[in-house]
């Protein structure tokens, strides 16, 4: 008989190794899924994981990698802090959308000025938009005790409707005919978020992601706030006795993750996306949840996880183009990855014992 025995403390080895095991298992299961779809599993896995980095057209894909990874990392770093503390902001997608709308609106209010102040203003507006959107679940939780999971998620659907209304109505490009959508920010120098180093895909969002990771790493390991976050998550009772101000923690975690999601949205709308359009929402806010867990809720781990997840996006697009693999297969693949990770995690908290044990 196989039994599980709780470890006195989580195994550090397994905590580090389980993401790798999960990735390997996902590749196997994903390969089976691709085979079931009638594709050569080895070719599919190679197209997704190998070609974008080392293949023939890697010069193009490598740039795309940072473009996709930056918003994922930016959002996931914020989410991970909350998850550590047991504060579940799963509405990052909504904060991402609202950040993009606010940032774009702040910039477009000054069209066609060429002042250098416009882009910084947009960054502030984007961060503020995401922050305020996240404050709704935070304040409702503190004032009324509502569940932040449900409220933040409901607000995603509200934000999507807000986006639709902005794209067809109040942010619509007045000079355009036909397709709804705002003016193209990419073609307006003062508001655009360009590639900083040609060919790398690195835009201001990448810079922001790097800063956020460093800031988060220092805070989690060296600052009192980081200690309180970890304490509140690991032992809520002890945290209360220890004088941790739960209300401040809720405001901080939700506000920071909302702000970072808003920033990610702003950098996306001013850079790769270029404009507010109905299909602007891309699901980064949800994928970032997977990234946060895959990165062990640790800022440095999230960098690796974000790059890997970006690889599945970029490789998935390549596989869709070259092998005719359906785009949805990639999101199923990403979901599978999170499942395997959660399943493998049992090994870091428990020991597997084979044989009959004493009756507990």
């Amino acid at each position: 008989m196989i039994r599980l025995e709780r470890r006195p403390t989580p195994s550090r080895v397994w905590a580090a190794a389980s993401p790798l095991v999960a990735v390997a298992l996902t590749m196997v299961a994903g390969g089976l899924m691709f085979a079931a779809l009638g594709k050569d599993p080895f070719e599919a896995i190679r197209t997704i994981f190998w070609d974008p980095v080392f293949g023939e057209f890697a010069w193009y894909f490598r740039g795309q990698l940072l473009v996709k990874a930056a918003p994922l990392i930016l959002i996931a770093v914020g989410l991970a802090m909350g998850f550590r503390a047991g504060i579940w902001n799963i509405g990052a997608e909504g904060q991402y959308i609202v950040g993009a709308i606010c940032g774009a609106a702040a910039g477009l209010a000054f069209y066609p000025s060429e002042s250098w102040l416009i882009f910084p203003l947009m960054v502030i507006a984007g961060a503020l938009g995401g922050f305020l959107w996240a404050m709704i679940p935070a304040l409702l939780k503190l004032r009324f005790g509502t569940n932040e999971i449900l409220v933040s998620l409901m607000l995603v659907y509200v934000a999507e409707n807000l986006l639709a209304s902005a794209a067809v109505n109040w942010l619509r490009n007045p000079d355009a005919v036909g397709f709804p959508g705002s003016r193209n920010l990419g073609r307006w120098e003062a508001a655009s978020n360009p590639e900083l180093i040609a060919g790398t895909g690195a835009h201001w969002g990448v810079v922001a992601a790097v800063i956020a990771v460093i800031f988060a790493q220092i805070m989690m390991t060296r600052h009192l706030m980081g200690f309180q976050i970890r304490l509140a998550g690991a032992a809520p009772r002890a945290a209360r006795f220890g004088g941790v101000n739960t209300a401040r923690l809720v405001i901080f975690c939700l506000g920071l993750s909302g702000m970072l999601a808003g920033l990610a949205g702003l950098f996306e709308v001013a850079g790769p996306a270029g404009q507010i359009s109905i299909d602007f929402a891309s699901g980064y806010g949800f994928t970032a949840i997977i990234v946060a867990f895959l990165g062990r809720l640790n800022p440095l781990g999230i960098v690796a996880a974000g790059l890997l997840m970006a690889l599945t996006y970029v490789g998935g697009e390549a596989a869709a183009a070259n092998l005719g693999l359906p785009g949805a297969a990639i999101s199923a693949f990403q979901g599978m990855l999170l499942f395997f990770l959660l399943a493998v995690d049992v090994l870091s908290n428990f020991r597997v014992r084979v044989g009959r044990g004493v009756v507990a």
Partner: protein, 309 residues
């Protein structure tokens, strides 16, 4: 705006249809939570039910078989959650989220070839002269069988939890798994069964969307219905009768906003479309005074159970 185009009879009748998927899913989730498990993957199970039921319905031509397969599909997804959280003791919140993300991806993968097809829908029951009665004929006696099934299920769940021994054991497991374990009840087995039941209900609710209410398959067609079902369980403070009230209130809002859109109300369409979600938030705030006392919440909700500790 022409409000006279909105007929109260049709409004109530379509309200019941709009509420049925959420009612089914919420009822299942309520049983799961009564057993002390928080499954946030309702949305994922619903959409898997929607697509598996739709595929079965299209391929066999029988909507009944579609509903049957949908229940199996939902339960299979739920058991995946069950194995992870009950056997491998993973975090229930994270696993539920994973279930939703996975379900959304997998369903659109399955649904590739089924976009834009119509499936055979369930016919409304014809109860002779009863269905011809004014108002009551349409509202009480003019629905498809699943609407009645869902109402029957509300009653069955209520009776099961209140009057049967098995229901008592299930509630005991949810209130204190350690005490239930000490009394010799199989905590894990009870919870697994509750999880499978919740999944089957969510699957039926999803299939009702794709086979009756819409009836078509579109990617992400549940559009948050599973999350709203979760909110309704909280709203209902874990009571079957109140789940019914919550789901029908919610169905009323959905139908009303759709009617207002077609009647050309001078309110932005986007605001009307967002109304169900906004109302859910407002309802969560309004009931918070009651929920804040915490008396209704199953005491061991969301806590992992490991027999050795």
């Amino acid at each position: 705006m022409d409000l006279s185009s909105i007929s109260p009879t049709l409004l109530i009748a379509s309200l019941m249809v709009a509420a049925t998927p959420i009612l089914l899913a919420a009822l299942g989730e309520m049983v799961v939570e009564k057993a002390g498990v928080l499954n946030l993957g309702v949305e994922g199970m619903m959409i898997m039910g929607a697509i598996s039921g739709f595929i079965a319905g299209v391929e066999t031509g029988s909507p009944w078989l579609g509903f049957f397969v949908a229940a199996i599909g939902g339960a299979a997804m739920a058991l995946l959650f069950g194995v992870l959280t009950q056997v491998l003791l993973s975090n229930q919140v994270a696993t539920g989220l994973a279930l939703t993300l996975f379900g959304l991806g997998l369903s659109s993968l399955f649904g590739q070839g089924y976009v834009g097809i119509k499936a055979n829908s369930l016919k409304r029951l014809d109860m002779g002269f009863l269905s011809d009665l004014p108002f009551f004929g349409r509202v009480v006696f003019g629905h498809d069988p699943i609407v009645y099934l869902s109402l029957l299920l509300v009653f069955a769940v209520w009776a099961f939890l209140k009057f049967t021994r098995a229901g008592l054991v299930l509630r005991a497991v949810g209130e204190s798994h350690d005490a239930a374990h000490a009394l010799g009840y199989h905590v894990r087995r009870v919870r697994m069964m509750a999880i499978a039941f919740g999944g089957a209900c969510a699957g039926l609710g999803g299939a009702y969307l794709s086979l009756v209410r819409v009836p078509q398959w579109t990617e992400g067609m549940t559009a948050g219905a599973g999350w709203i079902a979760l909110a309704i369980v909280v709203f209902a403070s874990w009571r079957a009768g109140r789940v019914l009230i919550g789901a029908y209130l919610f169905g009323g809002i959905v139908v009303l906003q759709l009617n207002l859109q077609t009647a050309g109300a001078k309110v932005p369409v986007e605001l009307l479309s967002a109304a169900p979600y906004l109302v859910t938030i407002i309802v969560l705030v309004l009931i918070s005074g009651r929920a804040g006392r915490g008396g209704d919440t199953p005491a061991d909700l969301g806590k992992p159970f490991h027999a050795s500790t």
